[in-house]
Amino acid sequence: MNKPLRRIAIFCGLLVFALLARDNWLQYVQADSLAKHEKNRRVTIERYSQPRGDIIVDGKPITGSKATPGSDLKYKRTWKNGPMWAPVTGYSSQRIGANQLEYIDDGILTGNDDRLFFRRTLDMLTGEKKEGGNVVTTLNGAAQKAAYEGLKGRGKGAVAAIDPSTGAILALASTPSYDPGDFAGNTNDEAQKFLDLDKDKDKPLVNRALRETYPPGSTFKVVTAAAALENGLYDDIDGKTDSPLPWTMPNTTTPLKNEGDIPCKNASLREALRVSCNTVFGKIGSDLGKDKMLETAKKFGFNSEQFVPVRSNASNFPEDMDKPQTALSSIGQFETAATPLQMAMVASAIANDGTLMEPYMVDELQARNLDTVEKHSPKEMSEPLSKENAQKLQEMMETVVEEGTGTNAKIPGVTVGGKTGTAQHGVANSKNPYAWFISYAKTDSGSPVAVAVVVEDSKASRDDISGGGLAAPIARDVMKAVINSKK
């Protein structure tokens, strides 16, 4: 009987061999794809297995991590003053996922980023646990607070503030906001909260400062003024312009209207901006033509998305228009639309003597031990206007604040330049207009801040809404906060 016994032995050996071969296939050849399989919950478990790195403002974290007992996802994200910071950080939810900064710099925050690889390998050898790094932002806590508090009292709106000399974003607020901490975990309650927010008619989840475009109204007139100066249409901001009143748009019989009875006939550029003449700037746009207007608008950043690194929607200056449409677009109507960030960029380029810096909000990525992984160096984006013209435009904007529509933005002891805007929208302009204000502040050492504020659908009555009344005080508070924090 021994011959069959030996054969059975070989057969049993083959069975074991088949198992060994299969095991090698599973745990060596296929190991990686199985370990990273989309259905493999370990990926999620691992992701939340240690406290997430923090997002830093003014040297202090504005985020944190909290243990979640009873869940296999150990740590969830927390925020200090979530509604205020949500437009900066975005959310990071175990159930929903992450967006904005939390998403873009997820690798650093979780510690999975390839740039941390060497450190991780070392940690593995020394038995240290993997740790997430920090994202150091350029934001200014006081300015953010001023922006958010200012907006909160006025319903829906957004603020973007930039340091003109570097492009560093100082404030980025949006209301109504949401608390990302409300749905950071993995429970059904939290998922429901997110769904409710998503369905909310007021769209609290939308980051208005970056992702909502509004007709910029009269604030766009500074772009038109820049185009006029750059293209040599007018050189002297105090000289008379060729501006009849009433002015009928070319190829039409429709006269362009001003708000009220204001002295716009042949008004100088300074005067026209001070009282916000539609006729003067409409005619400038029409005289320059759509191509020159478009060129200047594009230099200011219109018609392209910005990545700060969070994506900002492209603001729009129409490319295909006839003359009357060009006139309307040049006063921020028709299809012209801008994000608050875009208008802050316009103000910052003017404040920075004509040079537009690339806007950014992440200064530095750090490993857990505070070693720098990546550092941002300010970059020039374009030069929409020359230094001389920029300074002329500054004078004009400063007059607006000194004795024009923007007096609400005055700060004692500080030179402030600004422009108001009240953009009509809705069918036959039936809805509450958007109140805009863009401005910059100047001290002896240059301009530390440029800001754009938009307040939409204000509950105040229609007559009260004007950029100067609603938006300018917020801009003033933000600028004040920045200047005070620099002292």
């Binding site: 059975i8 190991a31 990686d32």
Partner: protein, 472 residues
């Protein structure tokens, strides 16, 4: 056994008993799981587990008792079997304890049964009962040939055991498979015990009938075809295993019995034709049953497409098991640091190998598989060394069944073959399995002892110088 005092030609082969080898290996078999236990504790809580001393003493005591009984009652037994079984049982206990600590499985048990009770203490008790049975086998079964007397009783016993789960009020349907019975507070898997009983029956039956089965045959195309009436028993066994498959929806057990029978039949008759018949009939049976039995179809679908939506709606066990293996990689996450509790149901029984896969990696699983391979190899070697046909058949039947069971279970959890509801011998949580497998090892040790034991010295013979003893 100082047979050398006589000048007879046999009996002088003073085979070493190898008991000290066994003792040394046993020390490793106790220490390795002990370190594993410490490892789990350190990984989970950062502390050496408090049960360390108790567990070490418990396992050491069980191994020690086993060793002393073997030394006393089966001095020439194979020295590897006891340590190999001990190390598997010990590691199984550690991993069961490790899974007891999983919050996910605790919550799962609370949601399902209202309360969670740890499995490791039970398993330790079952192991003790298993060792007790092992000791009992060695003490009371002085010679395995005694079992030959119970050939037909065994047959009846096996059929009763196999059919018990179908008895109303006694049988228990747990997640679709009817292979358990409930007695008092315990659920018992009679199939595990039937494995041994049926091997005794086959060995006894085939030993008697082997000549008839082997010689009376017609040659056809190079194969010896058995006579129709000799096909009777194989068809009865085949039909029984099909019945088990259909009525108890237990693919594993039916495969196990049929495979064991074919192996023993082949060894008994030395006729390759039986293997051909065996494979044909199991293919026919499997395809036939799969074509109308939805349970079997589901298992095959789940095996072919473990990640498909249709499968995941039914069960994600196989997908989870595969991902556990994959996540372990070559070296594993380290004991206590994996997430194999994602498997959920049966994580510590049928799927326990997946936890080894994730936490000990390819290296660990290969070691485990080789330990199983060694147990089978020692069993086959015992069969080769056995001097009587009954012992040969019984040893090869038991080790063949062991090998098939290991293959079917680990092949199932590794996605090599469709999943069947069977447990990894010694590793998996389950009283019946541990107890029955210790009995199985006991029988193998008994056979190997008989096989390696030097012949008893002949009675003092005054004519010793002149007579040569001729022994069959």
């Amino acid at each position: 056994m100082s047979s050398t005092t006589h000048t007879s030609t046999i009996g002088a082969i003073g085979a070493p008993s190898r008991r000290n080898t066994e003792l040394a290996l046993l020390a490793f078999a106790v220490v390795i799981p002990l370190f594993a236990y410490m490892n789990v504790g350190l990984a989970l809580t950062g502390e050496v587990p408090t049960g360390m001393l108790g567990y070490g003493m418990g396992l050491g005591l069980l191994a020690g008792v086993g060793h002393i009984v073997v030394r006393k009652f089966a001095a020439y037994a194979d020295p590897l079997l006891l340590p190999l079984a001990t190390v598997l049982n010990g590691l199984g206990l550690v991993v069961i304890w490790r899974l007891d600590q999983s919050e996910k499985l605790q919550a799962r048990a609370e949601a399902q049964f209202g309360a969670f009770s740890p499995s490791a203490p039970n398993q330790l008790m079952y192991s003790a009962i298993g060792i007790a049975l092992f000791v009992g086998v060695l003490i009371f079964l002085k010679d395995h040939r005694v079992l030959q007397r119970y050939t037909y009783i065994s047959m009846v016993g096996a059929i009763v055991l196999l059919l018990l789960p179908l008895v109303p009020g006694l049988g228990e349907n747990i997640f679709g498979a009817k292979i358990w019975i409930r007695v008092g507070g315990f659920t018992i898997q009679p199939g595990e015990f039937a494995k041994i009983v049926i091997a005794i029956f086959f060995a006894g039956y085939l030993m008697v009938k082997r000549d008839a089965l082997a010689l009376a045959s017609r040659r056809f195309m190079g194969l010896y075809l058995p006579r129709g009436r000799d096909l009777g028993p194989i068809i009865v066994v085949w039909a029984t295993s099909i019945l088990i498959l259909v009525f108890e929806t237990d693919l594993g057990t039916s495969l196990l019995f049929f495979g064991m029978f074919v192996v023993m039949l082949y060894v008994a008759t030395e006729r390759t034709s039986w293997i051909v018949f065996g494979l044909l009939m199991s293919a026919v049976g499997a395809v036939g049953v799969a074509s109308f039995e939805p349970h079997v179809q589901q298992r095959v679908d789940a095996w072919l497409n473990p990640f498909s939506d249709a499968t995941l709606q039914q069960t994600d066990q196989i997908a989870q098991s595969l991902m556990a293996f994959g996540s372990g990689g070559v070296l594993g996450t380290g004991l206590g640091q994996g997430n194999s509790d994602l498997i959920g149901f049966a994580a510590n029984s049928d799927f326990i190998l997946a936890t080894f896969g994730e936490e000990m990696g390819l290296a660990g699983v290969m070691a485990i598989l080789l330990i199983y391979g060694l147990i089978v190899e020692r069993g086959v070697r015992t069969a080769l060394a056995a001097r009587d046909p009954f012992g040969k058949l019984l040893a090869i039947g038991l080790s063949g069944a062991f090998a098939i069971q290991v293959f079917v279970v680990s092949g199932g959890v590794m996605g090599l073959i469709p999943l069947t509801g069977m447990t990894m011998p010694f590793l998996a949580y389950g009283g019946s399995s541990v107890i029955a497998n210790w009995a199985l090892i006991g029988i193998l040790i008994r056979i190997s002892d008989t096989a390696r034991r030097p012949a008893p010295s002949p009675a003092p013979n005054p004519d010793a110088e002149m007579t040569q003893v001729v022994r069959p």
